[in-house]
């Protein structure tokens, strides 16, 4: 495959879809992780760009699915240049803090563990699975994290399920960096900023503000994910405006 290649997880909608489209426009061959049924924008992109935008079934919570994705990608190419870990489980309602009487549930164990499995472990297992395909290309590993992963800046007093899963992700990325930076891999840890959720028809929830359209953050992410940085030795979490966040 002559063009550069990228694999994006959770590319059915939102930031994942938009950043996959940015890569396509940037001349990359895109492998777009498809998780949802009924979200057809990703399929339409594949139909319009045969051989350049390829959907692959991917549930990052399942190692079997991750390995099947890797095998499917390997049928098309022997090289992935850029990996973008974007898939995330944010659902399940408010994250569980005790109300003032401290009697109700502090932690919903199944949902808390699912958050870590999808948002942190899933990213780690996808990285591990793709490493054999990433030995010769750009060796760029990109992870969509969040401001809520920053313990230093944590102002919330409620809902720790999703934030703690993103902190676990940051730690996983730190340890991957410890292992792989010496082998020439470079890392991007990205906070995309507040983004509205995308419905199956591409419509966005909430107040119309171009800066909270996932396309906006995806447009800013593309040069960050693909360009060079002066401080490649350091692992930093950078937001959509280019500011570095403390861990």
């Amino acid at each position: 495959m002559a063009s550069k290649t990228v694999l994006v997880t959770g590319a059915d909608r939102g930031f994942g879809l938009r950043v996959a489209q940015e890569f396509l426009r940037g001349g990359y061959t895109v492998f777009a992780g498809k998780f949802l049924d009924g979200f057809e924008l990703i399929d339409r992109e594949a139909e319009a760009n045969p051989g350049r935008f390829i959907t692959v079934r991917l549930d990052v919570e399942s190692r079997d699915s991750i390995l099947a994705m890797r095998d499917e990608v390997a049928r098309h190419t022997d090289r992935i240049d850029v990996f973008v870990s974007n898939a995330a489980f944010m659902g399940g309602g408010p994250g569980g803090m005790p109300p003032p009487d401290l009697k109700e549930s502090l932690i919903d164990v199944p949902l808390a563990e699912k958050s870590v499995r999808v948002n942190a472990l899933g990213a780690l297992l996808c990285t591990e699975a793709l490493l054999p395909l990433m030995q010769t290309g750009m060796k760029r590993l990109c992870y969509v994290s969040s401001e809520v992963a920053s313990i230093n800046q944590m102002m919330r007093d409620n809902g720790f399920r999703y934030p703690m899963s993103k902190t676990a992700l940051n730690m996983a990325v730190r340890m991957l960096h410890n292992s792989l930076h010496g082998e020439g891999f470079t890392f991007r840890l990205y906070h995309p900023g507040p983004m509205r959720r995308m419905a199956s028809d591409g419509g966005l929830s909430g107040e119309a503000d171009p800066k909270t359209d996932p396309s906006y953050s995806a447009g800013l992410a593309f040069p960050f994910f693909t360009g060079d940085r002066p401080d490649e030795d350091r692992l930093v979490m950078v937001d959509f405006l280019g500011y570095v966040w403390p861990f």
Binding site: V109, L131, F160, T167, M171, A172
Partner: protein, 190 residues
């Protein structure tokens, strides 16, 4: 005073409990039958199956086991003990942890389960502190290092940290912060 330990079976927890008792604090491990002053989560082991790296092969079960032991189960126990802490005088929540769970400072290539679960716990505790701190709760997050200084740990868990407690070493607001400190008193960045 009464301290609730999530587990009193491991070596360091036993010695910590001894130190508490020397200071006149009764230690319980079962369902409390009255007010509790301190909640102490002692789970802090690196499991034998947690010594893989990305090149030797990630063990997802080891990671999720660590999340269960270091996050889900202790927070579930905290939930159970909160009504008893609410009735106690000190309202202090203590967790053993490790400096390797500092995202800033970690330099390891194995121990994903321990480090990811403890880093996650640190963020959960910051959110819990932001909530319960307003209600008078205080927090200790402590790296016992080589587990050789249980008296230092007991001292740190039991004493007050603000000037109002006669402790001039830390600033007036130390008790309002959540910090990860090790057995030598060093604060670790998150």
């Amino acid at each position: 005073m009464v301290a609730y330990f999530t587990d009193i079976s491991s070596g360091f927890a036993v010695r910590l409990a001894d130190e508490f008792e020397k200071s006149g604090v009764a230690v319980t491990g079962g369902v409390p039958n009255g007010p509790v002053d301190l909640f102490v989560s002692t789970e802090n082991e690196r499991a034998k199956n947690d010594f893989f790296s990305v090149s030797s092969g990630i063990d997802p079960d080891a990671i999720m086991d660590a999340v269960r032991r270091h996050v889900s189960e202790p927070l579930k126990k905290l939930e159970e003990v909160l009504p008893y802490l609410e009735r106690g005088g000190l309202k202090r929540i203590c967790f053993l942890s490790g400096a390797s769970a500092s995202v800033n400072m970690n330099a390891e290539t194995s121990g994903y389960g321990y480090n990811m679960s403890k880093a996650a716990l640190h963020n959960a505790l910051m959110i819990i502190k932001n909530r319960l701190g307003k209600e008078g709760y205080t927090f200790r997050l402590y790296d016992p290092m080589a587990n050789s200084l249980p008296h230092t740990a007991a001292d740190y868990f039991l004493k007050g940290l603000g000037k109002q407690h006669g402790n001039e070493i830390y600033g007036q607001n130390e008790e309002r912060r959540l910090t990860l400190r090790d057995a030598l008193g060093r604060e670790w960045p998150w």
